[in-house]
Amino acid sequence: MATVGLNEVVKVYDNGVLAVQDFNLQIEDKEFIILVGPSGCGKSTVLRMIAGLESITEGEISIDGKVVNNVSAKDRDIAMVFQNYALYPHMTVYDNIAFALKMRKVPKDEIDNRVRHAAETLQLTELLDRKPKQLSGGQRQRVALGRAIVREPKVFLMDEPLSNLDAKLRVEMRVQITKLYQQLQTTIIYVTHDQTEAMTMGTRIVVMKDGIVQQVATPTDLYNLPVNLFVARFIGMPPMNTIEGRLGKDEAGLFVCAEPIGTDSKEQSTHAVDSVKLYLLPRYETEEVLAHLDRPVILGIRPEHIYMEPEDVERYSDTKLQVKAEVVEMLGAESYLYLKTQWDSNLTARINDQVHDVRYDDMITVALDPDHIHLFDYETEVSIIH
């Protein structure tokens, strides 16, 4: 039940490694913030700095408006759930949950009430007398959650709490944590490398890479309006397809002439193919976009925006492509098509149906939805169109 502010936070480890760079974030009360990024991007370091387990090299962290840089972890009134559970192995589940309250000298009756209430919320009542080693992974993680919620802290910190669980349990716990969030109505900061967790649970997501914040946005905005290629490729499963090319213009309008950039000319010549022009919608013809004319760009398209139905291909004939089918993955409600373009780059299409009539090596024509095309600068990878 608090706000958290991070102001120009920098973390440099003793060995000189720059883990976090100029981190700025204002977290509102009752937000479910997700820090997401590949391993080593500094997201856990940020969390540990908020927790007080890691010193802050530069900048300020405040909880409820009070700067906590020099407040020790035990006095910050935060609770944390660790990836490896970090339960007290010599204590029963009851004592594990009660420990923090005992340390704060809460009266015994109240401890008992609160522990039993937390246990009920997490279906742990039956397990209160057990030791951690007698529990399964999912139960242990529930105890770790119980230990956090019993405290009724200002802020919850969760450091990849689900990554040690198997796939099925992970989905269950994901739902449980979301429910818990709705029940508790408190501020949660959650670290994960799993974009599915990020997208499904968070109210706002912070995408990090190499210690630098790439984008802070709601899940929908992050998905629809990624600010750069990294965010675009990191969020979404399967990831966004990219097609390298050059921005051009003729009488029919703006187009991306698809061709691999950056490979040497010799290689290019062996793959000599008819260049494919993928036309952009007239509304993109702005000054900002025109500035990239004749320059290399990267076109991005999400798998669900590649169509193969004849009527769709007909409708979007300005953006159609000849591709070779490589693999068809049938997932039941939908199918993934793994495709290869004439210039040898890979595309993935998500078809909202069961695909039966495509075989390996079949040549098919697909069309890109021009409304959902993203365009990125080739060098800076910053978004031009989204």
Partner: protein
């Protein structure tokens, strides 16, 4: 298993058992024989039975005094060694040292254990003499600390080091102070090693002779090993029966301590807290 191997196994086990238990049997059998039997050629089984030697221990030698002395010296040195040693280990493992001081400190602590005990006896003797403490129990207690501290630090350092550090961080966030983390989280997890090293230290202290013979001059401060050794003196005939009886009695506290400490020798006490 093949029957032949089974037989061999049985034979080896039996030999080992005889090897270990024979001295104890012999001690008991000496302690309960009459004096007349002890002076002549000894038979394997005692022909007479008496408690006289036990009685004589207390009447003639004030054995109870030696028992008490040994108990005091062992208990005080063990308690101090455990308190100081465990705290030392925790600091050596968890506190950050600069300039490789950790290695240096650890080396010095181990060195005390590695050097022959007699090397420390002379300097200590002079120090205590100078301080006019040689008539007290202090020198022998300090000497026993010297034996036990390095062992305790060495032993428990490895166990503390193997504990998952995330658990301490978790306690820190739960609001535990450094002292509470140490007493509520660290120590309970290493009870098995404390029990094991406590046993070893107790025995080392209880049976210690070299320092006792150098540091203890007053007869009413004699510890058990020292008193038993005086019964084998040149002035009078060796009292085999009383030595045996003394041996038996001095074994009892060690046994009690071992049985008590064994309850904590449970393997895997610290497992299950974190996902490995």
């Amino acid at each position: 298993m093949k029957p032949k191997r089974k037989v061999w196994r049985g034979i080896v086990t039996a030999l080992l058992l005889i090897w270990t238990f024979f001295p104890i049997y012999w001690m008991i059998s000496l302690a309960i024989r009459g004096n007349e039997e002890l002076t002549s050629a000894l038979s394997f089984f005692p022909k007479s039975f008496t408690f006289e030697h036990f009685r004589m221990l207390f009447v003639k030698h004030h054995f109870e005094q030696a028992l008490w002395n040994s108990f005091i010296v062992t208990a005080i040195s063990l308690i101090i060694a455990l308190i100081v040693g465990l705290a030392c280990s925790y600091i050596l493992v968890r506190v950050r040292f600069r300039f490789g001081l950790r290695k240096v400190s650890f080396f010095w602590i181990l060195l005390v254990r590695v050097l022959p005990p007699i090397a420390f006896a002379m300097p200590l003797y002079f120090i205590f003499n100078y301080l006019q403490l040689s008539e007290t129990r202090l020198p022998i207690i300090v000497a026993h600390l010297l034996i036990n501290l390095p062992l305790i630090i060495w032993f428990t350092m490895t166990s503390i080091d193997s504990l998952a550090q995330g658990i301490e961080e978790s306690a820190q966030i739960d609001g535990a102070s450094e002292w509470q983390i140490y007493s509520h989280i660290i120590l309970p997890q290493i009870y098995p090693s404390i029990a094991a090293v406590g046993m070893l230290s107790f025995m080392a202290s209880w049976n210690e002779y070299l320092y006792a013979v150098i540091f203890i001059q007053k007869r009413d401060l004699f510890t058990l090993p020292l008193l038993l050794s005086t019964m084998n003196s040149e002035q009078e005939l060796t009292q085999w029966g009383q030595i045996g009886a003394g041996g038996i009695i001095s074994m009892i506290p060690v046994l009690i301590f071992v049985i008590f400490a064994q309850r904590y020798l449970i393997a895997g006490l610290s497992s299950g807290g974190v996902k490995e």
